[in-house]
Symmetry: C3
Subunit: 336 residues, 3 copies
């Protein structure tokens, strides 16, 4: 997979203390249970120390104070975080070598950085711009006047309507749809007439968007997804929604028009938000909650549950039952 | 964008009374806050009159009785509706000029009206018919024996299975799937055997269907979506469902097999319908409600909430809390 | 449609007793109400015997003890099941004749069985293997190192990421995404870092997966869908989930990471599962239920409802109201 790194190098990278043979080479990441020689794994909680003691991994990242017998190990304050940092080194994103499949249809007025990969049967519209290091996979549709930053990955069959913008290092998974019309109509005697959806979508840098998620274009202005936000599969984000930075949204959640979710919020799965709601910075909303239209949800780490959602202390049975909120459920546990 | 219209023309079109310079030319629609010269905007509620007074728009559509100083304005009974009517004139659907991308694969037995646009890497199956004025975007899949009416737009990567029918002026957004098999099985000692899904899907005229929505084909007979109905993203419509005319369905709602939703209903987001239910004409069902299998929901503007759903007066806390029902949340407010 | 079968042959195939003319030929399946000459239909419940008596079908499959006057009929214990068995004979899956569309892009290192159909504008990656009898429809994306068994159907625009495995006789509907990255991050001071998603997805034999369903690859190890399991549209299955054999999952349900659903469970629509839950063999979970993270749900046909879910006897109002559980609603009723 790669030329390997010495345990000492990895320990230095994560600010940890290595015990054992610092010169042993590590080539890949693995789980404790399935690791082989040359792999590094991690132990998140001391109570599972037997797994670490019995692993075949060549090195284990352990919590400070935990010591393994006859093993190489690295002590750190946060083993899972250190493991992720090590993974970034051992499994870097493959380098993009300039390649344009002969079947890719790229408008003459599009501007491509170099290197970029433009996959088979993909299409790139007029005046689109694609930054260096970006890969467009097979069958993706990049509309006219779309801007895509550097080092992005646009997976197969994703569809970007005209005139949307994607920041650097953003990943759109397969079949994502960005910039479809917002859902707005006005009724008259004969039926519904479409309210114009003339705006755009802006996705900032370091965002990841799961398969089949839809982000609609604004009626006027923009729908915006902030820097470092992570969105799971099958999520619906309506027109003129604004999502802040470092927000996590689990699968199948739906956010109605013009709602604002501020920085550092954590949103569970299957949550529904009415329109024009506001979730303040750092709020945590449990899975399946319902947020009323126009509602202001207070932030700073408060936890909300239920339909309509309420602070968790008011619904202690749920709090006890659910234990940790949704984002811990989905985002920060090891998934062994 | 276009050659413009005089304010007097627009006022006549919407049946409003113009004040100011009736000969000033209007070229585009805009919001009050971001409008520039040559644009027309609208004021929905008198309480925001400051926005209208301070706009740079060249004309504002206002409620009857509202007057702006030193501005061109048009008084009408329903400003938002008038704005939509004006938008239809200033931003008409682009005219379709006959174009068939050289990579489009169109079966010899398919019949195409003229003009039509058939996009790159799209496929059109045997005996399919496509009406004049329709655009098939890149990568869309039109199965055999599919019928598509006039002036439709089929967005990129949508998939129409064989033998489904789409009426005139209907829009299918990106990645919509029409006509996949309904979900029906019969269990025996060894497992599930598939019940045949031999029917079709019929979508009538003037329908809009959001990205990633699925409408399954009937087991026998048809799944039908009525004229003028508007469906949001990520909605599931099962086999043999019948949706009436002018129904609005918000995102992520799911409708089980053989359920009927009559004309003029309004359905919120994330609602679930059991099978063989019936929602009578004009009923309103709030977001996240659950409708039991076989349930009959009374119509005529009654509002339902909850799981299982009940008339809103029985759950007044919710009614007070939610305020307006879901469709107003999604469909009829300005989304500034 | 086919050369037809004698009623006597069909009766023998389903272990039923034929009355009337055993030599009459049957060419197709139909509903009682719409059947014509040459068709066979079924009567599930005696109370609808008038429909059977008045049908134009040439033969009706009826419950044991039900007799029609002046009609050909076949008595069996389970008419609907017999009808499905007859449908398998009269409407077999079309035979696959070897065909590779000239626009299909198949890596030189891929290995294709024979016969296979590889559709227009589809792509097949390096070292992928595709078993005999399988059809890949237009625009499907088969990644590198993907294994697909025999007699599968991969519908249009489905996306299989690299290195996933699909068993024999499995159907993936349009736009299904298999093997996108699981949703896992670790937070540090600056934001979220992605936990590596290095595992795979294994789908066993005889599985059907509905349109727009997502099954994420494991962080390590595998996400697995057991033999004979049937999954509806728009379902989310997260990393490291394990679904047993003969499980039915209705539309828009979401299953969080590492949750286990054992054999023979029935899961309604819009259900949400927290992570690391376990649903024991044969449990039935009603639509819209919520299963807490880490929860163990007892099996053996017990029925659960609500958020958080509880045995149905504790919430008898729901039980009375919902009547039959979700899977009967979706899966085992005739859908006329």
């Amino acid at each position: 997979m790669n030329s390997g790194r010495k345990i000492s190098e990895l320990a230095a990278h994560v600010g940890g203390r290595a015990t054992g043979n610092p010169d042993e080479m590590i080539y890949d990441i693995a789980q404790l249970e399935n690791a082989g020689s040359g792999a590094i794994a991690f132990l998140e909680e001391q109570k599972f120390i037997d797994r670490a003691q019995n692993t075949n991994a060549s090195c284990v990242i352990v919590p400070e104070g935990v010591r393994l017998e006859g093993k190489n190990f690295i002590e750190v304050a946060r083993p899972k975080l250190a493991f992720v940092l090590v993974a970034e080194i051992l499994r870097p994103r493959p380098s993009v070598e300039n390649f344009r499949h002969e079947t890719a249809i790229v408008a003459a007025s599009a501007r491509l950085g170099a290197p970029v990969i433009i996959g088979a049967y993909s299409t790139v519209g007029e005046r689109a711009t694609i930054g260096a290091g970006t890969e467009i996979k097979a069958g993706a549709r990049i509309g006219a006047d779309v801007s895509i930053g550097r080092d992005c990955t646009i997976h197969s069959n994703a569809v970007l309507y005209d005139n949307v913008a994607i920041g650097d290092r953003t990943v759109l998974h397969a079949n994502v749809v960005i910039g479809a019309d917002g859902f707005g109509y006005v009724r008259d005697e004969t039926g519904y007439k479409k309210f114009p959806q003339t705006g755009t979508v802006v996705i900032e840098t370091d965002v990841e968007i799961g398969a089949h998620t839809c982000i609609d274009r604004a009626a006027f202005g923009e729908t915006r997804i902030g820097r470092g936000t992570k969105i799971d599969n099958l999520v619906q984000i309506a027109h003129n929604v604004r999502i802040g930075e470092r927000v996590v949204i689990a699968s199948q959640t739906g956010i109605s028009g013009s709602t604002v979710i501020e920085d550092d919020c954590i949103i569970g799965g299957q949550v529904g938000f009415g329109d024009h709601a506001r979730v303040e910075r750092g709020a945590i909303i449990g899975s399946k909650a319902g947020v009323l239209p126009g509602k202001i949800v207070r932030g700073n780490g408060a936890v909300y549950w239920g339909v309509p959602c309420a602070p968790a202390r008011r619904i202690q049975n749920h709090e006890r039952a659910f234990g940790t909120p949704a984002a811990d459920e989905k985002g920060t546990r090891p998934t062994s």
